[in-house]
């Protein structure tokens, strides 16, 4: 009872907010049940869809550390994602046989997950060490350049990466021991080296990973390093004067952000069983940025909500919209719009083309109308609405002093 009471009595805007996380946890558990129930047991594609979405949630949480907490704009975040995914592809498939190494490496998923994390973090440090002295927007450009370089290098080094074709048939995660039973339609027995192929298995792994990352990030945020992030974001010179080693803090941020991306990349490789240089372009970096800007930079529940929302809109709705638009056009008596005609590519194609425009409008309108995002962090909100005008802040302070 006391626990419930405590949850009830906490300020709903408190961060980390137990109520919000409880809701997220319940949704995460309820989703697969709902998916199976609403489709009569055929919900595997829905579960798989959200398991893929979880990759974006991980990426958004990681980018939020860099952009939301420390205020460093990273426009090449997909590069670390690519590095994580390719690490998995090299270390957990037969692919290395066709490279000059001629020897396949098959490390277990669970280990490669962490290798991917460390490799990406190492690249984060390599990129960050010489560039983090630069001011914010130069840094954005360096990361943008890096984000353009990495996929091209993977594409061009065909001997190692098979170029455009990418690497396929990656290993599936295995559990060393697993109990099968009637719930999966098998006999009750203990199996060794159980391969996870079911979407539900991936979904469960995903939820666990996301949960671990949330705990980790929340702890980081309220730790000494987390306070250093905020200080560096607000005023670098002042932070340095207060004894924060700004270069080290920024480097650590970059490494941590990259680590999340590498982690997500390794999972992505295992889930998709395929990596290709085309999957890690600028649009991926921008998609993740849109997620955290829309959700509420600096606020973890907001970022998660933003990630899921954008993921569902971009990959779910926009995918389903072209046939829907065709249907509507036909039912409204505008059937002539369906077929391509001269310059008109057909309504389905036209709707598909809206993607760029929607991306751009979300970014611009969020920044203009609600810069703090849909579910803002309270600190950020103060700063974005009140801190906009220094005179206003001074007036506020004066008014407070007068009372």
């Amino acid at each position: 009872m006391t626990v419930l009471r405590r949850i009830w009595e906490t300020d709903p805007r408190k961060d980390p907010n137990p109520l919000v996380y409880a809701l997220l946890a319940i949704t995460a558990v309820a989703y697969p049940i709902w998916a199976q129930a609403s489709t009569g047991g055929q919900g595997d594609f829905l579960i798989s869809f959200l398991a893929d979405g979880g990759v974006y949630v991980l990426l958004a949480i990681g980018l939020n550390v860099v952009v939301g907490f420390a205020g460093l704009l990273d426009l090449g975040y997909a590069a670390f994602f690519a590095i994580g995914a390719y690490t998995y592809a090299f270390l957990a498939s037969d692919h290395l046989v066709v490279t000059p190494l001629q020897e396949a490496v098959h490390l277990p998923f669970w280990i490669v997950l962490f290798i991917g994390l460390f490799v990406a973090a190492a690249f984060g440090i390599v990129l960050g060490a010489p560039t983090l002295r630069l001011r914010g927007d130069y840094l954005a450009i360096v990361t943008l350049g890096f984000g353009e370089i990495v996929p091209r290098v993977f594409r061009n080094l065909g001997v190692w990466t098979s170029g455009v074709n990418g690497i396929s048939a990656l290993d599936k995660p295995q559990l060393p021991l697993w109990i099968q039973g009637p719930w999966s339609g098998d006999q009750l027995e203990v199996v060794q080296n159980f391969k996870i192929i079911q979407p539900l298995g991936f979904y469960v792994i995903m939820v666990l990973l996301v949960g671990a990352c949330i705990v980790l990030v929340n702890n980081l945020r309220i730790s000494r390093i987390g306070r250093a992030w905020m200080a560096v974001r607000e005023d670098e010179v002042a932070a340095a004067a207060m004894g924060v080693n700004t270069v080290r803090v920024k480097l650590l941020t970059f490494a941590i952000g990259a680590a999340f991306s590498g982690f997500a990349g390794a999972f992505y490789g295992a889930k998709l069983s395929l990596v290709s240089p085309e999957n890690f372009g600028f649009s991926v970096s921008i998609t993740i940025l849109v997620m955290i800007v829309l959700g509420g930079m600096g606020n973890i529940p907001g970022v998660i909500a933003g990630a899921i929302l954008i993921y569902v809109v971009i990959f779910g709705l926009l995918g389903a919209l072209p046939p829907l638009a065709e249907e509507w056009a036909t039912s409204l008596g505008l059937g002539s719009l369906v077929a391509p005609n001269g310059d008109w590519p057909g309504i389905a194609q036209e709707v598909q083309r809206l993607r760029f425009l929607i991306f751009g409008l979300i970014l611009v309108l969020t920044m203009l109308l609600r810069p703090q995002g849909l579910i803002p962090s309270r600190v950020r909100q103060q700063e974005l609405t009140k801190g906009v005008n220094e005179d206003q802040t001074i007036e506020d302070v004066n008014a407070e002093a007068a009372t």
Binding site: R133, I141, V142, I149, A240, A241, E350, F356
Partner: protein, 348 residues
């Protein structure tokens, strides 16, 4: 207190590492030059001259775009990501105007096409100018006092909006741009030659850039721009209309980008809706190369980037061109954040 702040600043600028960095930079440059020289000697001088000609033509287009980046950054300290797409818009608008002015590939020849071409150029430039001013008004001005991240994100957003609109307008494919410039060329000895269209591109670009630097140096508005770039508040107190000056900067930058878009189309006879992303990045690299905020620097940076691109294309493997250019961008920012010609400006 003052001295400790100064020390902190000194550490932020990391001046002590300068000597080591300069050493590494010299070694890198020497290695690159040796590599290029061995290839150049192997392939003969005529090929080298040809490459420089192509590089200059290519580079003058990037220089035109780079000027807009550098001017805008100089005055509002914003990387206008939409600038590259304003450049593409120049190409799209002129492509749309060409049949309206009755020009047709292979049919319209001779000096008679100059007047309609100039008219198209001027209209496309003006359209781009107006669009860029509108972007500034809608997306950047309201955020002028917001945290730096905010306008940067809207800039990326506006870039996507422009790309999305052009995507809706003409579709995702490469568009053929009428080949209106004469194909004749002048021999430069051996197999090297310079085509009339190379000359045209270089002359138009250089002319526009000279006009711009004269304007910024001599005119009253140019003076206002320089004053606003130096200290916005002080300029405002001196009676300069800040908003108008900033809008004028966006307008002029976009005029040059729009001209660049049309010239690009005429020169390469092909454009696509997402051209502005990569072209904008090359141009931004050029602006950084020349020291951002420095107009002559951006022009020289543009020509250099053009030559580097063509050298990688011609002597090595064109698959690596983008990698080399972006690596150059990262390296310049690491070793010389203020560019090869820029002055040392402290972090604000």
């Amino acid at each position: 207190m003052v001295s400790s702040l100064a020390r902190v600043r000194g550490r932020l600028l990391a001046g002590s590492r300068g000597r080591v960095l300069n050493g590494i930079l010299l070694i890198l440059i020497a290695a690159a030059l040796v590599l290029v020289a061995t290839r150049a000697i192997a392939l003969g001088p005529a090929y080298f001259i040809q490459i420089v000609v192509y590089g200059l033509a290519d580079g003058s287009i990037y220089a035109l775009i780079a000027l807009g980046y550098t001017m805008v950054y100089g005055i509002v300290e914003l990387i206008n990501f939409a600038h590259g797409d304003v450049f593409t818009l120049g190409g799209f608008v002129s492509l749309w105007l060409i049949p309206i002015f009755g020009l047709e590939e292979a049919k319209s020849v001779g000096p008679g096409i100059i007047i309609p071409l100039v008219a198209i150029l001027v209209i496309s430039m003006l359209v781009c100018g107006v669009v860029n001013v509108a972007i500034e008004r809608v997306a950047y001005r309201p955020l002028r006092h917001a945290p730096r991240l905010a306008p940067l994100i809207t800039a990326v957003g506006m870039s996507f909006v422009l790309e999305g609109l052009m995507f809706l307008w003409r579709g995702p494919f490469n568009l053929h741009y009428p080949n209106l410039l004469p194909a004749d060329s002048i021999s430069l000895g051996g197999s090297a030659s310079i085509a009339y269209k190379d000359i045209a591109v270089i002359v138009i670009a250089l002319g526009l850039m000279t006009a711009l630097s004269l304007f910024v140096e001599r005119s009253k508005l140019g003076k206002a721009m320089r004053a606003t770039a130096q200290d916005r508040d002080a300029a405002g107190l001196m009676g300069i209309d800040i908003n108008r000056t900033i809008a004028a900067t966006f307008f002029i930058g976009a005029l040059l980008a729009g001209a660049g878009g049309m010239i690009y189309g005429l020169y390469f006879t092909s454009i696509a809706f997402d051209l502005g992303f990569s072209a904008g990045l090359y141009a931004f690299t050029a602006a950084v190369f020349g020291g951002i905020g420095n107009i002559q620097g951006a022009a020289i940076g543009g020509l250099l980037i053009g030559i580097v691109r063509v050298i990688v294309d011609g002597y090595f493997d064109s698959a690596w061109t983008d990698v080399v250019v972006f690596a150059l961008l990262v390296l310049v920012l690491v070793f010389r954040p203020t560019g090869i010609m820029g002055m040392r400006v402290p972090e604000k």
